[in-house]
């Protein structure tokens, strides 16, 4: 099966080339037979990629250490689940995984193109096959998981212990599912540009796949934050590492697109802007991959030392050049079909929101690349870390939070003064009330106060919108509150699913602002020793050391300390934190020791304990109080649920037509209904 998989990879390379060539030729020459052959070539490439992937999984699960990839990323004593997830744990496997997802996505997207969009198929299929060909070629020539060692080791090196975490088993696939999904809108955008069919047809396909990409990126980013928090032990979830930034960039432009597409659907405006956002989202996914895998930027992820950077740079430049050419030569076809009636309208508000989202994306990209720019200009290396990103992005983030509340309150086309007063009165009052109460309670951090004031405002806008809709349903249909709520959401999933996403954003920002009150304590404790600390909310905590213990389990030596914990005099149980030294089947140490954090979570905040080291039987600990962290995960989940509601297909309902309907009968009778 392993040999079959390896062979399938090379056949996929040929099939991909065939699919791209015949699809483009079919599109250019208008030959249906070539287009059909291109589609079949794409399906065959997908089948070959599935075989190639099964081959690698087989090699991993059967411990075929003659493959360098298997020996580098697994060992015989690793739990099965992590052997399975080792598929995407290393460079070559992750590239194959990327190509696999792209192949499957492409086959689905091309198979289910609506009949009215058939003209787009040759170009979309060709573009997807080209992207797929690039990834397969990268796998074959630069990062081949089937590369063999000149000898067969008895055991492998194993997986970095920090990757042996359930979050890490599912976080990368979600991110890849998100990244790769940006290829489909890109391909259809290119197809629409080539064929100049830039009206409604391509928008439907693009919107669905953009939503899918956004959904998986949201889950992937949230899971990545959770993994960093529970596994890395530095008491935070976002470090503005280039790899993290690379995942955020397409999410930001994708979010901007999902807002601006509504303006094109409803008003026929922003047609150029939407095409630019679609292609930019894809190009950022590629560019992010390039900067994190080329080694041009320092990152904790050692993908940075990989040899695929030049390939990605070339591909990125080619894709960017092609895109610029097509957009530039189709500008006239992308003229808006309507004009703006007022600067105070929902479409204008969405545009402001777009400017801020793209502005944040730019600032993240700028900060990520600034060390390179600085080195070019000044010749000296600098670090652009969290203090820089926070300085620049916190104000922009707050601006975005405010706009999250403003957009839904303003009417389409033109908002009257009375409309604005009516819509804004309660939310603005609610936001101000939150700010004043927090100030009165002693909160003095400026950014946190603004964040909670805005969060109160946006939360109130969401409640107000739901309350209006639910009240209307109860009045008209006499439904109970839960039924009215469910039906309100079910009947208008895009709108109310969107509000649920906004609710998730509010929760996230409230949790982010909580970090302003984070407290770290650096303590040393011998067995039986007691420490007392006060958390940011004034609770008194007592810790009693039960001493350091050592043990050996499945594939690791463990050094642990247990702490008896009391809060305000009430026992909270025992919290354990560990250092683990993983070893191979010959008991030889693998990798650096890793941290297992002791975490006690509550709605108010986390108690976060890290065993930093043991010297002379004294444990060196960092005890952190991290307010509101659990709400980051809850906020992410709410956003994902909202996204799922928005994505869920809605059956077309038969509605009685509104307005006058003329019936053309032989007897020339006029039927009118309202």
């Amino acid at each position: 099966m392993i040999l079959v998989g390896e062979l399938a990879l090379w056949v996929a390379l040929l099939m991909g080339a065939w699919a791209a060539t015949t699809s483009f030729a079919g599109g250019a020459l208008g030959r249906e037979d070539l287009v059909a052959s291109g589609k079949r070539g794409l399906y065959a490439t997908t089948a070959m990629m599935v075989l190639a992937s099964i081959g690698l999984w087989t090699a991993l699960l059967t411990h075929d250490f003659s493959l360098k990839y298997v020996a580098s990323n697994t060992s015989a004593n690793m739990p099965k689940v992590y052997i399975f997830s080792a598929f995407w744990g290393g460079q070559a496997g992750s590239m194959l995984f990327w190509a696999l997802i792209l192949a499957v996505y492409s086959a689905i997207a091309i198979r289910f193109v609506p009949p009215k969009s058939r003209d787009l198929v040759p170009w979309a299929c060709g573009t997807l096959a080209m992207i797929l060909l690039f990834f397969i070629a990268t796998v074959c020539f630069k990062a081949n998981p089937y590369d063999r060692l000149s000898f067969v080791p008895a055991d492998g090196r194993g997986m970095n212990p920090q990757l042996q975490n359930p979050g890490m088993a599912i976080h990368p696939p979600n991110l890849y599912l998100g990244y790769v999904a940006t290829s489909i809108p890109f391909a259809f955008a290119i197809a629409a540009l080539v064929t100049r069919r830039l009206d409604a047809e391509w928008l439907g396909i693009v919107r669905r796949w953009s939503l899918l990409s956004w959904f998986f990126l949201t889950i992937g980013i949230t899971l990545g934050m959770w993994w960093a928090y529970v596994e890395l032990g530095w008491s935070g979830y976002w470090a503005w590492d280039p790899v993290e930034n690379a995942s955020l960039l397409p999410w930001l432009t994708g979010t901007a697109f999902l807002h601006s597409i509504m303006i094109q659907e409803k008003r026929g405006m922003l047609r150029k802007w939407n095409v630019v956002l679609v292609v930019t989202t894809f190009l950022l996914a590629i560019f992010g991959t390039f900067i994190t895998r080329s080694g041009i930027i320092e990152s904790v992820h050692s993908f940075a030392q990989s040899p695929v950077g030049t390939w990605f740079a070339t591909f990125f430049l080619a894709a960017t050049g092609t895109t610029i050419y097509f957009v530039a030569t189709r500008l006239r076809d992308l003229e808006a079909k309507a004009t703006l009636e007022s600067m105070v309208s929902r479409e204008a508000a969405f545009l402001y929101n777009n400017v801020v989202l793209v502005g944040i994306a730019f600032s993240v990209l700028w900060g990520t690349l600034f060390p390179i720019l600085s080195e070019w200009v000044r010749g000296s290396k600098i670090t652009v870390g969290p203090p820089f990103f926070n300085t620049v992005n916190v104000p922009l983030g707050l601006l975005l939070l405010g706009l999250t509340g403003v957009g839904p309150l303003i009417a389409w086309r033109k908002a009257s003064t009375s409309n604005l007063k009516r819509q804004f009165a309660v939310p603005a009052a609610a936001g101000l009330l939150v700010g004043v109460v927090l100030f009165a309670l002693g909160m003095r951090d400026g950014y946190a106060l603004i964040a909670y004031t805005l969060a109160g405002f946006v939360a109130a806008t969401i409640v107000q919108e739901f309350q209006k809709g639910i009240s209307a349903r109860r009045n008209i249909h006499g439904e109970s509150f839960p039924v009215a709520t469910v039906r309100l959401i079910g009947r208008n999933r895009r709108r109310y699913g969107g509000y649920i996403v906004h609710a998730g954003i509010v929760v996230l920002f409230a949790a982010f602002a909580g970090l302003a009150f984070k407290k770290d304590h650096d303590v040393q404790m011998k067995a039986g020793e007691t420490k007392e600390l006060v958390d940011p909310l004034g609770h008194r905590w007592k810790f009693v050391s039960q001493g350091v213990s050592t043990s050996e389990t499945l594939n690791r030596f463990v050094t642990a300390i247990g702490l008896e914990v009391w809060r305000d005099g009430k026992p909270q149980g025992i919290l354990t934190t560990e250092k683990r030294q993983y070893f191979d089947s010959n008991k030889q140490p693998l990798f650096e020791p890793s941290t297992e954090v002791g975490i006690r979570t509550s709605a108010k905040g986390d108690l976060y304990v890290v065993l930093a080291g043991v010297r002379d039987e004294t444990a060196e600990l960092r005890i952190s109080f991290n307010p509101l962290v659990v709400w980051v995960w809850i906020g992410g989940m709410i956003m994902a649920v909202g996204g799922l509601i928005v994505m869920w297909p809605q059956a077309e309902r038969r509605r009685a037509p509104s307005g006058y309907v003329a019936t053309l009968e032989p007897r020339r009778e006029m039927a009118a209904t309202t």
Binding site: E6, L7, W10, V11, A12, L14, A44, K68, Y69, S72, N73, G90, D147, R148, S150, Q162, A200, L203, G233, S235, A239, Q264, E265, G268, M269, E298, V300, H301, Q305, A338, T339, L340, E341, L351, Y352, V355, G359, F362, S363, W366, G367, F370, R378, S380, K381, I382, T383, G385, P386, P387, F388, V392, D522, P593, L611, A612, R622, L664, R668, M670
Partner: protein, 199 residues
């Protein structure tokens, strides 16, 4: 060419490519392993940052202030964390404890936070700091994002005003809205006739 023949040839070509690649690999040897998942720690990155104590020196700051200062200094082991976070997270790193000892010595020697930061920059260069100093070219780093946002907002306002001046909104079908097909001239004539009779 028949489909079966096409597939057979594809597999034959794929097989040839596979064995060609294998032969090439055997000739060149296995490429260096670049598939590690996380960074490799540089344990030898620490350099000594010392200054003679100031006359009659007393500690220049308390522990909390010193910890805050260490949050501004980057550990040089390659982890991308600051000194405080690295030394309190990972006992295998020998770089951040060494840098911490230097910070403590400078604090004991009566040096201010800025003087300590300057001492680290003198030794390691500006990459010793978690964020670039707000001076010279670095201002571009801090200001360009806001400048770009302002320029973007201004451009949007200009475009919106231009669109507003463009006159009344055109009555054209919007993207995404399914517009029913227009009636034939004959049907439209019948409709006009019906409407006239209704009036």
């Amino acid at each position: 060419m028949q489909r079966r023949e096409f597939l057979t040839r594809s597999f034959a070509l794929g097989g040839a490519a596979l064995f060609g690649a294998r032969a090439l690999q055997a000739q060149q040897g296995t490429p260096a392993d670049t598939t590690g998942n996380l960074f490799d720690m540089n344990q030898g990155a620490a350099r000594t940052v010392t200054r003679p104590p100031k006359p009659g020196a007393r500690p220049s700051m308390d522990q909390d202030t010193r910890d805050a200062l260490e949050h501004k200094i980057r550990c040089q082991c390659g982890c991308t964390l600051d000194v405080y976070t690295c030394r309190t997270t990972d006992f295998s790193c020998q770089v951040s404890p060494a840098m911490h000892r230097d910070v403590m010595a400078l604090v004991e020697g009566g040096y201010s936070a800025q003087e300590i930061l300057d001492a680290f920059v003198d030794t390691y260069g500006e990459r010793a700091l978690m964020a670039p100093k707000k001076e010279g070219f670095n201002w571009a780093g801090y200001l360009v994002p806001f400048g770009a946002l302002a320029a973007g907002a201004a451009a949007v306002l200009v475009v919106l005003r231009g669109m507003q001046r463009g006159g009344a909104p055109a009555e054209v079908p919007m993207d995404g809205v399914v517009v029913p097909p227009l009636g034939t001239p004959d049907e439209m004539a019948k409709l006009n006739d019906a409407i006239r009779k209704d009036d």
